[in-house]
């Protein structure tokens, strides 16, 4: 069971009235990975996270965390005992002080890390006697992170952890996550629509769009398999359709024809050269381009 994914979602569906928030989503998060869950607003990221933590019941499909069914009430309690969570809005108890909410949370988790609590209280400069409602957005996020990290959790689930933070505060949060995950061998599953931060810390990603997984895999593999082939002509670029598999997108702009290929450049090079360009240039594709092409091709 050591190689079993920490999170295993198959055909997950969630319907709110007439709205399909999640429509057959598949996801496997390997143990020890830092997994970026990318998607536009409303793509189904938060709903999926809520299903994983037993906050929302799925309408169909299966979601398992640590091999336990997320929609079974008893198993869900055990999942949460082993999971740290930061919600998108960094919801905490406004009526408590920083010290009170730490004191409230710690007894729920048998593996609570007092050493980390002390360390993060100092390094995040959290004021113990301040009411949570008086904290700035950045300080509140740091408190939420402390409360998640100190649980001694095997899995961290973070919903847009850097949302609303300035670049310096966001960087602090990301670095803390990377250090924590590396030191404690924690699996980190975080949702975001900030592509740069996903690219910065994730080793695996899934792109979700309209409630479905549009693309998933190791980030390095995806970067390797996606290629941009740029053809320059001495005339207006021709209309072209490629028979080779893995052509994600073809764009004409003046004398330039750009092809984004998801299965490497080789399969389309012969077809490209047959069009008679004056130059053929093959280059890497950024995660942002992969994301945009994936989301666009879903449309």
């Amino acid at each position: 069971m050591a190689d079993a994914p920490v999170i295993d979602v198959a055909g997950l569906q969630k319907r709110y009235g007439s709205i399909d928030a999640v429509r057959g989503l598949d996801l496997q998060v390997p143990r020890g990975s830092i997994f970026g869950f990318l998607g536009r607003n409303g793509a189904g990221k938060t709903t999926t996270i809520k299903v994983l933590l037993g906050m929302t019941r799925p309408s169909g499909g299966a979601a398992r965390v640590f091999g336990l069914a997320a929609d079974a009430p008893g198993a869900s309690v055990e999942i949460r005992r082993r999971t740290g969570f930061v919600s998108e809005d960094k919801e905490l108890y406004d009526f408590m002080t920083v010290a009170e909410i730490v004191r409230f949370t710690a007894p729920f988790f048998p593996r609570w890390r007092r050493d980390l609590e002390e360390r993060y209280m100092r390094s995040f400069e959290l004021p113990p006697d301040a009411k949570v409602k008086t904290l700035s957005r950045g300080t509140r996020t740091k408190l939420a992170l402390l409360l998640a990290l100190c649980r001694g959790a095997e899995l961290l689930v973070l919903d847009e952890p850097t949302a609303g933070l300035d670049p310096a505060a966001a960087e602090d949060v990301l670095q803390t996550l990377v250090v924590h995950a590396g030191r404690d061998e924690t699996t980190v599953f975080f949702s975001s629509h900030q592509i740069a931060e996903v690219e910065q810390i994730a080793d695996r990603i899934a792109i979700v769009d309209r409630g479905r997984t549009a693309l998933a895999g190791a980030l390095d593999d995806l970067r390797e398999s996606f290629r941009r082939v740029q053809l320059v002509f001495d005339r207006e670029a021709p209309q072209a359709s490629f028979r080779a598999a893995g052509v994600a997108r073809v764009r004409r702009q003046g004398r330039v024809l750009t092809v984004i290929a998801s299965g490497g450049a080789e399969p389309i090079l012969d077809e490209a050269r047959a069009l008679g360009p004056v130059s053929v240039d093959v280059g890497p594709v950024t995660l942002k381009e992969i994301f945009l092409e994936t989301v666009a091709s879903e449309e």
Partner: protein, 255 residues
């Protein structure tokens, strides 16, 4: 720690309720000498109908201190204010906190929803018990100051009747709070239900003397020294059923 959170969430409602009821209890005790001075004037009052009957009854009861305390405190002031605070303490909870109130943080704890609701309900019931008992015992404590006495046992029995009879209104507010995502509708509906029942009982008390408010004010105990066990068992079971319904309703909610 869920107890601690439940206490922090409800402490101001409880403290305000306790303060108001204690002030009211003091007022009830220290008004008695004034009532006795006015008693000779009671014969000049000529009211007819239900109002007249109630005024006459109150006058007759007030001739004895025990009757006055039951009539003014357990049958009027305490029961009315306590019912309001039962609805206030029962309203709110996880669903009303789902928009920025920390519900997701609570739900991320390794505790079942039944436990979350159970602890909150138990904390609220504890506060309601205190709201019934403490001001009533204060009456026993203060009565010697006006040269009278009121049995602490009577105070405890009437408080118990109030608590076990009226817990159903608290449980109703808790149930409604698992249906409506705000604090006001559960409060308003629970109070409206209590008001309708109270008014209804007033009209049918001659033909049907088993109403919930008669049970809550301990009329049977006052008149015959018998504790209305059957009624208390029924209302306690009803409150338990409503709380069970609340737990089931909360279990089905999506956050």
């Amino acid at each position: 720690m869920l107890w601690y959170k439940a206490w922090l969430e409800t402490r101001w409602r409880f403290v305000i309720g306790l303060a108001i009821l204690m002030v009211s209890a003091c007022g009830t005790v220290f008004a008695y000498p004034q009532v006795m001075r006015l008693m000779p004037l009671a014969s000049t009052v000529h009211a007819t109908g239900e109002l007249g009957r109630r005024v006459q009854e109150a006058v007759e009861l007030a001739r004895e201190y025990r009757g006055y305390i039951w009539s003014q405190w357990f049958r009027q002031n305490l029961i009315q204010m306590w019912t309001v605070f039962a609805a206030i303490l029962g309203a709110g909870g996880l669903l009303s906190q789902s928009s920025g109130g920390g519900a997701l943080y609570t739900l991320s704890m390794p505790a079942s929803r039944a436990r979350l609701l159970g602890v909150r309900a138990a904390a609220g019931l504890g506060e309601l018990l205190a709201l019934a008992v403490v001001p009533s015992l204060l009456i026993s404590l203060l009565s010697p100051a006006i040269g009278d006495s009121y049995s602490p046992v009577d105070a405890l029995v009437h408080s118990a009747c109030l608590f076990f009879g009226g817990a159903v209104f608290y449980a109703l507010a808790v149930l409604l709070s698992t249906i409506f995502p705000d604090i006001w509708r559960p409060l308003a509906i629970a109070l409206a239900v209590a008001a309708v029942i109270a008014i209804g009982e007033m009209f049918v008390r001659d033909v049907w003397p088993y109403g919930i408010f008669s049970l809550m004010n301990g009329e049977t105990y006052f008149r015959s020294r018998h504790i209305p066990w059957a009624g208390l068992v029924v209302t306690t079971a009803a409150a338990a059923a409503l709380l069970y319904g609340a737990a089931s309703s909360l279990e089905r909610q999506d956050f």
